[in-house]
Amino acid sequence: MTAPAACLTVVETGPLTTVQDAGRLGQGAMGIGRSGACDRGAYRLANRMVGNYDGAAVLEVTFGGLVLRADTDVLLVTTGARSAGVPHNAPLTLAAGEHLVLGPPVTGARTYVAVRGGIDVPAVLGSRSTDLLAGLGPDVLSAGDRLPIGHSAGRMPGVDVAVVPEPEAGEVVVRVQPGPRRDWFTEDAWASLHSQRYTVTSQSNRVGLRLDGVPLERANTNELSSEGMVRGALQIPLSGTPLLFLADHPVTGGYPVVGYVIDEDVDRCGQLRTGQTLRFTTRG
């Protein structure tokens, strides 16, 4: 008799839970974006803590609310936004029949749940990431889904708990550098980008953060041909207020990118909640 395949059952999903990995690389020329975990650092940490190979698929839980039932004994970890009452950044074993219940996060927006062996749903174009903009990859999780767990994992790291900074509450400051269309904006606009406090609006999602603030003034009113961009882009649509692109951003965009949040700081943007304030500082 063979052992039953390792599996997790989704009891509740919270507002949004998706499967994510490192994303689809190198397919931009076909109009396919990278997608993948919004907070790549927390994603990588999650896999390391349970001895998974790089690139294994995990769950990205937005604002908690996920309830999982283990159908067999599983080893898992939560990273990113901490849920009260659940061990965090520390591997734990869930025995068959036990539940993992993620309450609302203390700070931050996105919690990562890695299971030793990885979430083994079928890959689409080389990745198990759900790209919400492109409609590619596994479906968004629903209650009742059964998630197969893979068999392949490496050595456990021998670390009981990882000491990493928690996602920030309140005002967050990130570094920006000039983007390809910096010169499409006035000097005053560039100064304004650095001096104001932007508010994260409720129209924010995995595609990007829609920020509210004083509109930036254009130095010209030319129409831009769509051009390629990567995460961290501060695209300025006609409204004049920035859209900060995250994991599921479009491959190309037709509004000028005034600046880029440096890649190292984009993970922290992926943890911002509606109503938090964001300031930009010169790369230093």
Partner: protein
């Protein structure tokens, strides 16, 4: 050519026209610059995304400066023929913009030699440029909330085929049964940069 900054891990090469974009894109694909993990051509630009663990932007920028574009190699791969039923809702509007009748629009569209210049907007959505260069069609003033999959359309200097239902502002001139983006095919996207394309008129209804 100008090389513009595009974040910590990318460079944006700005060029004069579509021909230059395709010539550079072809050269970049053939050169396989070390550490470049994605190349995204667009109408006037090529974005290079690097892996910062293996290279840096300075090194890639220098390699780009020494690139020899391949203007002679713009069209690559086998010809894709797209059968079209030319019964699009905007056919008459396009005809009036181009100063001809609907039959003439169909003749020109099916008679032109098209090349996929770049992809974007949605997975597998190719922007096709016509060799005749005679296309200049404004977008709809108000985009449709849903364009059916397989719609064959025009906007600006480009033609395209909607891979699936989506909102869209292009002028619809016809439809095809051909699935231009199929996840069960390898590669899934039929229309990749450089692919030569012909539209074949298979009637109006």
């Amino acid at each position: 050519m100008r090389v513009l900054p595009s974040g910590s891990d990318a460079l944006l090469i700005e060029l004069d026209d579509l021909e230059e974009v395709l010539a550079h894109y072809t050269a970049l694909r053939e050169e396989c610059l070390a550490g470049v993990i994605d190349i995204v051509p667009a109408a006037r630009t090529v974005l290079l995304v690097i892996d910062p663990a293996t290279t840096d932007l300075g090194e890639v920028g220098r390699a780009v400066g020494q690139l020899r574009p391949r203007p002679e190699r713009q069209s690559t791969g086998a010809l894709v023929e797209i059968p079209v039923i030319y019964d699009g809702e905007d056919l008459d509007e396009v005809a009036s913009v181009l100063g001809c009748d609907a039959d003439e629009v169909v003749r020109r569209h099916a008679g032109d030699a098209w090349t996929v210049a770049f992809c974007g907007f949605a997975p597998g959505f190719g922007y096709l440029a016509g060799a005749s260069g005679g296309w200049d069609v404004p977008r709809k003033s108000s985009p449709r909330t849903s364009v059916p999959p397989g719609s064959v359309a025009l906007a600006g200097e480009f033609s395209g085929v909607y891979p699936r239902a989506s909102p869209g502002g292009w002028q619809l001139i016809g439809r095809t049964e051909l699935d231009v983006f199929d996840l069960h095919r390898d590669p899934p996207a039929l229309l990749r940069p450089g692919t030569p394309v012909r539209f074949v008129d298979v009637g109006r209804s």
